[in-house]
Symmetry: D2
Subunit: 293 residues, 4 copies
Amino acid sequence: MKHKIGFMGLGIMGTPMAANLLKAGYPVMVYNRSPEKAAPLVQQGAGLASHPKALARATDVVIAMVTGPEALGDLLWGPDGAGGALSHSKVFINMSSVSPSYTRELARELEPTGVTFIDAPVSGTKKPAEDGSLIILAGGPQDKVAELSPVLLAMGKKVVYCGAAGQGSMMKMCINLLVGLMMEGFAEVLNLAKLGGLSQEAMLDTVFSGPLNCGMFQVKAANLQNNTYPPAFPLKHFTKDAKFIVDTAFELGAPVPVAHTILQLYRTGVAQGWGDEDVSAIAKVLEHLNPKA
Amino acid sequence: MKHKIGFMGLGIMGTPMAANLLKAGYPVMVYNRSPEKAAPLVQQGAGLASHPKALARATDVVIAMVTGPEALGDLLWGPDGAGGALSHSKVFINMSSVSPSYTRELARELEPTGVTFIDAPVSGTKKPAEDGSLIILAGGPQDKVAELSPVLLAMGKKVVYCGAAGQGSMMKMCINLLVGLMMEGFAEVLNLAKLGGLSQEAMLDTVFSGPLNCGMFQVKAANLQNNTYPPAFPLKHFTKDAKFIVDTAFELGAPVPVAHTILQLYRTGVAQGWGDEDVSAIAKVLEHLNPKA
Amino acid sequence: MKHKIGFMGLGIMGTPMAANLLKAGYPVMVYNRSPEKAAPLVQQGAGLASHPKALARATDVVIAMVTGPEALGDLLWGPDGAGGALSHSKVFINMSSVSPSYTRELARELEPTGVTFIDAPVSGTKKPAEDGSLIILAGGPQDKVAELSPVLLAMGKKVVYCGAAGQGSMMKMCINLLVGLMMEGFAEVLNLAKLGGLSQEAMLDTVFSGPLNCGMFQVKAANLQNNTYPPAFPLKHFTKDAKFIVDTAFELGAPVPVAHTILQLYRTGVAQGWGDEDVSAIAKVLEHLNPKA
Amino acid sequence: MKHKIGFMGLGIMGTPMAANLLKAGYPVMVYNRSPEKAAPLVQQGAGLASHPKALARATDVVIAMVTGPEALGDLLWGPDGAGGALSHSKVFINMSSVSPSYTRELARELEPTGVTFIDAPVSGTKKPAEDGSLIILAGGPQDKVAELSPVLLAMGKKVVYCGAAGQGSMMKMCINLLVGLMMEGFAEVLNLAKLGGLSQEAMLDTVFSGPLNCGMFQVKAANLQNNTYPPAFPLKHFTKDAKFIVDTAFELGAPVPVAHTILQLYRTGVAQGWGDEDVSAIAKVLEHLNPKA
């Protein structure tokens, strides 16, 4: 018997993720604040709930994929919120990106309902969501995560078990920090190489031929070459995440000297008005400091 | 007609590189300060020169792969040095790692001889030297680099043309900087993740499954997991390179805020006595700053 | 007619400040959670209130000098709190160190009472509190600050008007940041000088003879010379303030590259277990990174 | 019997320093590459040498105050250089700002002449040179420094003995580093305060009233207020010194995390075209990173 899935949040990520659940044969009921976004999924066979509570009542596994804490709070605890229909026989999986501390707070709020709570943010953006190749970073009871792995693997290629609820988010933050560190490093070296008279083509050719080659550099190189930064992961979102992770490191007493250095560089990028461009626009911050011609 | 190759410097890198030239069918004459190191190559068919000048007289293309400027200076301009036998009908290729400024100085010193000078440091260490999969970063006259590509490709899998003599070294320095930035970033994030309660296995699993995965992380992860750092690229050598590249950036006026930050971290590693361990021992510098238990 | 003053919080700072108000001829009523601390002031002529509300009822100008937001919240809004007795005919002056954002929140909470609210944290510690030589950093309505200046100048040598309520705290945070930057700079240079073979005496003699000489260096030099750091301003308190100011700078988008750098150094000091020593123990963080002998 | 003084280098600093020697009653002979600059001193009673060698022959104590190593090398070892006339009965005092390593090299070069060599750079610029209130940072044999103190004190208010020849320069570099750290800190805090809504007047008033008040802040505040930076100590000169001191720290293994951070900020200032403005123009680097209006 397949789980009945309730899916809330039909944005750029949520829509293909719900579609992949349908393709895998799960019965899926969806909810979105703007119901017109649900139409394509309804055509593919999804049911449509009139409000989150109705969705939670009618399904076993309730998944949320929304923009942040406020939207999530509304879905759960607003009028006709899903929270009122969660119970110990159900599972609630939050796949939205939120902080570990918010996740732990959420776990406490959900406790009285008896629901099994799993936090499962994803590594990957639009394309992997469509391809079902997301990496799913799961926190919560290990047996429940294992039991629900087939559901998760309908949306992603891998589930990494990270520990108690909140640790999925912690993992996501760590990965995002590494994204920002490597992106800045890539931009810093390319900018230096250019000022040192090397062609960007030769530089990229060298990086791509050796042990530093990675998927992210492959994807972002064109932005740096064309000096245009269409937003896949907006610089301001990364900056918010980086602030969060630096704050977390501060609480832990973890030494993060480079995270501090890049945080102020990315923040400068936002201050200069480039927050809506891609995270790779950190290159513009460095160029802003280049010698005047 | 294949070029007659003279190869000077039979260390960890030079020996397999010369062997690969022999395998590719080139006539090779070798020279090494300690002549006993030449024995295996002589068995494979190489000729043995009694001094650098003899080697340079007897060959068309003279290659040097030694530890640095001093050793190179001795080979070229010491008693019976190769310099005295170089002429406009010959090619001299320096594959040793030296700075761009030293390379440009060398180019000026060689100019009166009329020799064609190519600087061609390599990206890759022992294993790629043995496999013939080095990346060769070549600076010098573009037509000559093209003409000599078959020789270079006997030792490597790719030749990247970088510009005038000195730019091969510049490229190498840029790549090394990226190595150091990424290595520190990897160590910083893994250390933070551990203090934040994530298992190193889960963290590595996540990195290796996504777009940040790269060959270097694959190779160095075991060091971080086992907390042992057998030297592939010694931390003190990287630190010397990093100092050089930061100095170069200073001259160029290139903004390298993170290079500055990591330079002092790596220097601290040397000061703490870890210079002979692998560059990945930067992890120990961060642990040294971790909260006392 | 002199204002009737109510003074809450009789710690290291509050006791001498209240005593200076008495000396200046003001009628003073005091309150402290542990009433035994009030005895010396009662001997000097102060009245003793049994709870904050009684104090606020009986006086015109209510001053608080406590350890932070929690203590302040209790005094104002706890059982028999002063908040219930504040009205538009009275003035409330918070001299405790709290953040600008907390101060603005406090201003909103107090608004319904109609009380005039002034935030007036101080620059200076125990000795200036005793001598009446504090610098008072005042935020609030400018005319009211002017009117109350005689009261403030009974406790300090100068009142700096900083703007609306909250700006006194903002000023305090900025001054504390400068303290931390200069203290780290002083320690960094002295440590370098020592490693470079200069005697600490000669170094200090030079600093003290020139345009960099300042009161803080004079006071802290002995700590660095003796390598003992008795807490005047504990390192952990500075670290908390520095985190706050870096967070504020982040919100404002203000570039604070050095504040970021020192924040992680001071945080490392706390992580190493030196948080209860003086802020000048930042010298120990640098020594921890010195070359192993 | 007063020493006969030879003074080479009559720039902004040298001219008033030589004048002060004359005022103190010393017989002074001067030399300058452009002899017209010597006219005012000749009017005050100085002798004029036609070349450095003549000057060194005719005097006991030869002082140099020139722009750097090249000028100094010319004076000593160029045609008719002073070097040829130095001997064990004479003293050579270099007061020009040069590096400790250059100074040690100079000491080795002078050794064969038998001359007593003292390095004595100064802390202070034009005004203190005129007032005779320079701080003189002396390295060399301690007894000779003591013997020559009256000569030095004719030009300054204090002589700090720093150790062997080279340590005077080391001290100067350390003091300059502290100048740069404090100047950046002052600018960083003032910029933050302004973005946080504090008036610059209130901020300065607070700094000047407390234990952070120092002569340098007093002198530089007007630059920051008026946003004009007339060069007293040009930003590019400080940047050169800072590079030197960071290099020295690197050699020593001394941890200088903030020096690294500020070095790249000052270097950015030069790259932006502000190198000829005063060191306090570091404020412009921070403003360049401020949020776009």
